[in-house]
């Protein structure tokens, strides 16, 4: 251990600051952020619609007797869409890391630790996940209503508790998806060598 007299405070990066800076970045670079939100949203929308359809089929005895149901392979498709969505987020985040190379280098120069950079990117990913989750849920519900009108089912027969439960489920799901997809880019950003990062020309 060194013997610097660290009497003038500690290096830190409060969670509130991470979210504030992350939010600023999402807001001010909205085009890229929107692509990520849309990617999450589409996956979640697909899952939400399917899950709600399932509920309607189960609640409606007439449909149940006709043998219509959501098949396992359809959930398989949802899984595939999640994988595609995660890959696209990872890709987009990796590009963002290179774009923000100097920015990251500068922050490290000003006293940010690796873990602070990681925290910033994960905070951003949580913001994207929440926005994507809500957007996806809304889109999914809308799609369901359209399908029901088209097929003559009553969408509103779904109990609110089921909807709430699903909203909770998709929020957790999109958080997991987004964070999983961001871990590698965030780690890369955190490990950037500040000397290299500051030399990097965008």
């Amino acid at each position: 251990m060194g013997c610097v007299q660290m009497d003038e405070g500690k290096i830190t990066f409060r969670l509130s600051d991470a979210f504030r800076l992350g939010y600023d970045n999402v807001k001010r670079r909205f085009n890229r952020a929107f692509l990520n939100i849309a990617a999450i949203g589409l996956g979640i929308a697909f899952f939400s619609t399917l899950s709600l359809m399932d509920t309607i089929f189960r609640l409606n005895s007439q449909i149940r007797e006709s043998g219509s149901m959501i098949e396992g392979y359809q959930y398989g498709l949802v899984l595939v869409s999640f994988v595609v969505c995660a890959i696209s987020i990872t890709n987009s985040m990796l590009i963002a890391v290179y774009e923000r190379c100097r920015e990251i280098g500068t922050m490290k120069c000003l006293g940010a630790l690796d873990q602070h950079v990681l925290k910033l990117f994960l905070a951003e990913s949580i913001i994207l996940a929440l926005l994507g989750g809500v957007l996806g849920f809304g889109t999914g519900f809308l799609a369901l209503v359209l399908v029901c009108i088209f097929m003559g089912f009553r969408a509103l027969s779904i109990p609110p508790s089921t909807l709430l439960l699903l909203l909770g489920k998709v929020t957790l799901l999109s958080l997991a998806l987004s964070m999983l997809a961001t871990i590698y880019p965030a780690y890369k950003a955190a490990k950037l060598d500040p000397v290299e990062a500051l030399r990097y020309e965008v």
């Binding site: 830190t12 990066f13 600023d24 500068t106 120069c109 006293g111 000397v195």
Partner: protein
Amino acid sequence: MRSDVIIETRDLARYYVLGGEVIKAVDGVSLKVYRGEYLSIVGPSGAGKTTLFNLIGGLDRPTRGKVIIDEVDISELDAYELAWLRCMKIGYIFQTFNLIPTLTALENVALPTIFAGVPRDEGMRKAKMLLKSVGLGDRLNHKPSELSAGQQQRVAIARAIVNDPDIILADEPTGNLDFQTGREIIKLLKELNRKRGVTVIAATHDLKMIEVSDRVVFMRDGRIERIERMGV
């Protein structure tokens, strides 16, 4: 007791291997920098000024030799202590300003206070005060892209001193500025040096920017060619 020497380098060297060839960016630099001094480092590009700065700031590890800041050999510091050093003790000013493009002038200046754990209100208040003191009181909420080059460098200077560092490392601070604006930036740095007693080390290849210095170090090919004391 605090020594008069704030930074000392002993036989400091940093070699790179580039395409199978060894580049001696810094090659045996021994230098003492005194507390409160304004030191200019002059040399053509490629003389090793930036590498020397990176070594002093603990951003880069030397191939050989030592950097001693306030009697502490910084090669013995861990990542956390180095970050603390960069946050609290050293203020950086770059040729390319390196402001965060998504943040306003005020937020840019306040950024280092976040890492220093200063409460947000206090950090913002201090940032505002410093921006006023560098003549940008009416530009607080402008983004870097809405500021002129000279204004951006002023923001960067305010950011460099927001945590009250003992040392300012300015790497070609006037390199991207026209002559008149460059002179104003140098004047501002000198003023900080005189009023706050902060030690300034400024690299430049422009001999017109060194008249404010107490001493001038001439570097070439990674070595110190000579050191001149400027007449007062």
